[in-house]
Symmetry: none
DNA sequence: GATGAATGAGGCTTCATTCAT
DNA sequence: CATGAATGAAGCCTCATTCAT
């Protein structure tokens, strides 16, 4: 018998509501992303974000606890997307150094070109804004670095080499991230040369490969 | 009567005044540096800066046009210092790849350890705060990148090789800066491990050398 | 055909509905009472009240016109309860001064101990919140004061005395209310000493009796 | 010799500045008092207060940390004034019951009549607004109650009596405060009858005297 | 009747900057 | 030169209330 407390199949209109709610959430997040990338986190006001998303300020606060929560969730999402993207390539490469090449190319030629706003937020706007945000940022970076490091260790085992020092794998992972970051920043955010990113990416990738090799020693 | 416009020999008290003025300027800049590094550019208020420098807000405004001017001059100074430091090593190396090694080691083992606050400001606080600041930041980065690029070209000519592409030298310069930046950020600002910077720096330097070699071709 | 306006015998389900409705009303009022006493009228939001009552905000607005209406009805209810309680004792005492003793003891030893939340709302939360509420509060106080005054006049007639001035009866009534109020506030709300309320109440009651006697003159 | 660090005699203009600053502080406090008494603490906005004081909002925040600080300092001041007023009478009475009479008369006939706004704030607006304020309020009340209690103990010793219970003196002190409070509230704030306060006060005072006597026992 | 997403006016507070002394 | 009181625009956020479903 129908128990009121029991979760029934959601009705059609409930489903639609749910979808609309999710859509709103994404619309607001998108508006904020756009403004943060264009005007900067501090210069973009909550009212502007609401306006661009075509909702009231109250609605923004219905979906996000506060302004910081907005960029926090944004960062979370971008980080997730980035990890997914890079992780896939490393997995497919399965211990060969090819994964590093393909991951780099995917990053420069696809991610950067398709989502320059996300790049700007991830590498510029999320820096130095608040303690909590900085802590979050650190965590996300560390996860990605951990991923890269794991890939480096797999390569090491696969090729039967060892690295220069205990820290080498980690340092290389950090270095690679740093290269990605600044190259994207330089050519995308500062110089608006998405066209050149192909050549640039290939060079960068070769630089990385050379770096890895130079820290590898045969047993 | 002495023409006021004509530069007389400065009197003793004028000299003292001059010295005191310069001292004030530096005190304020130092206080701001401290606070920006600790609390962030936005969270540090002009009043706090004045307090820490033991002057009044008005005095801060006598020496600096506005808050942005403060960080602008700070950035300028740090950039100059950094260029000096790295440039010297490249000059001394005179076309050999040794310059890259020594520059890296100097950066990680001396600059970072001695001036962690400057690192925080240069790589974190100056990002994404205002258009003008961002433009300034870009210029300073470009100068340093230009320096590194010149050094790379000198190495190329010296070793009689050529690089993979037209852009290779530039990309490598950018990459090296990116590595510096993120490694400093990761191990100094985030993990507070100045002790490990020696090992880390050596690995980083070898990574760079490997990268450069891998983008070099013999004629 | 049954005229909709005509009151038919209510069906069973209508009765149930009616009961449920009343129950809801009381649940919401109780939740509000709880929150007003704990967090204060202003700090308690309509959403919190709805949450605690396990209904939606909309439902709260179905039963109460607005937030003020909530505390208004609450006050009304508490005032009614209080008048009932005290009034009964005065009636039973029937002109002797005993009624004042018993009323006081009932107030301190029963009402305060059983309903500290009501005390907090009646004497603290309802003060200084809005004009309308203040007007309501005034009315309720005046009714109670009128009750006490009537009891005092009955005592006067019964004992064959007269009071010091025209206003004496009223002033005494107000004084007694003031004593009740502050003693409850002090020992219940501020010092959480419900245990001591017995001793305290007895002292207070004797104070009142002494006060009344001192304003009485034999003809 | 003149030491720059050493506090010299303040110059005339410094003194004037100091005076002006104090004046501003008082002007703002006065404006706030006026508005709090008229419109209530919550309904009075910081902007209105600034307007009435003829300064900018910023200036209000220069002198007071926040809105709560405003009423906190106000309360402090009123409490101090009240204690002074009552305390003086008790001291002069020196153990006789006369002090209670005079203190009451002073309160009703002078304080209430001269400063009805302060009465409104002390007894109405400061109630139930915030935790910190409530804590402060409690402290101030307790001090006054302590004063009254001390006076009662002196009377006891002087007259060579003892009170009904351990708590009697305290309960009487609380009761007296409660009477003062509600009588002032009733006749001043609610019924605007300052004229009647003389008669009312005399009755109240006699009530108190009777109460005290009734709790006193000869050894 | 019940729901809860949406609204938006209004409040508090901060802080870079100015300027009379 | 130095001071620090004064300014006021601008921003973040809350929350009582409404209304379509």
């Amino acid at each position: 018998m129908a128990d009121k407390k029991e979760k029934q199949h959601p009705t059609r209109s409930e489903l639609r509501r749910q979808r609309e709610k999710e859509q709103r959430f994404l619309t607001i997040l998108g508006a904020a992303e756009n403004l943060f990338a264009r005007k900067g986190y501090h210069k973009a006001s909550m009212e502007e974000i609401a306006d661009l998303a075509e909702v009231s300020v109250g609605t923004v606060y219905f979906y996000f606890k506060n302004k910081e929560d907005l960029i926090l969730q944004m960062l979370e999402k971008i980080g997730f997307q980035l990890r997914n993207l890079l992780g896939r390539e490393f997995k497919n490469a399965d211990g060969s150094i090819e994964g590093f090449k393909r991951a780099g190319i995917i990053f420069f030629e696809e991610f950067c070109v398709q989502y320059p706003e996300k790049v700007a937020i991830f590498f510029r706007e999320s820096a130095g804004q608040s303690q909590q945000l900085e802590a979050h940022r650190k965590k996300i970076f560390e996860k990605i670095i951990e991923d890269v490091q794991q890939a480096l260790l797999k390569v090491r085992d696969n090729l039967g080499v060892r690295y220069r020092s205990q820290l080498s794998a980690e340092v290389m992972a950090v270095s690679i991230m740093g290269m990605y970051e600044r190259i994207a920043y330089q050519y995308l955010i500062w110089q608006h040369r998405p066209r050149d990113l192909q050549t640039i990416g290939r060079d960068a990738v070769e630089f990385i490969v050379g770096g890895i090799r130079n820290l590898s020693r045969n047993h």
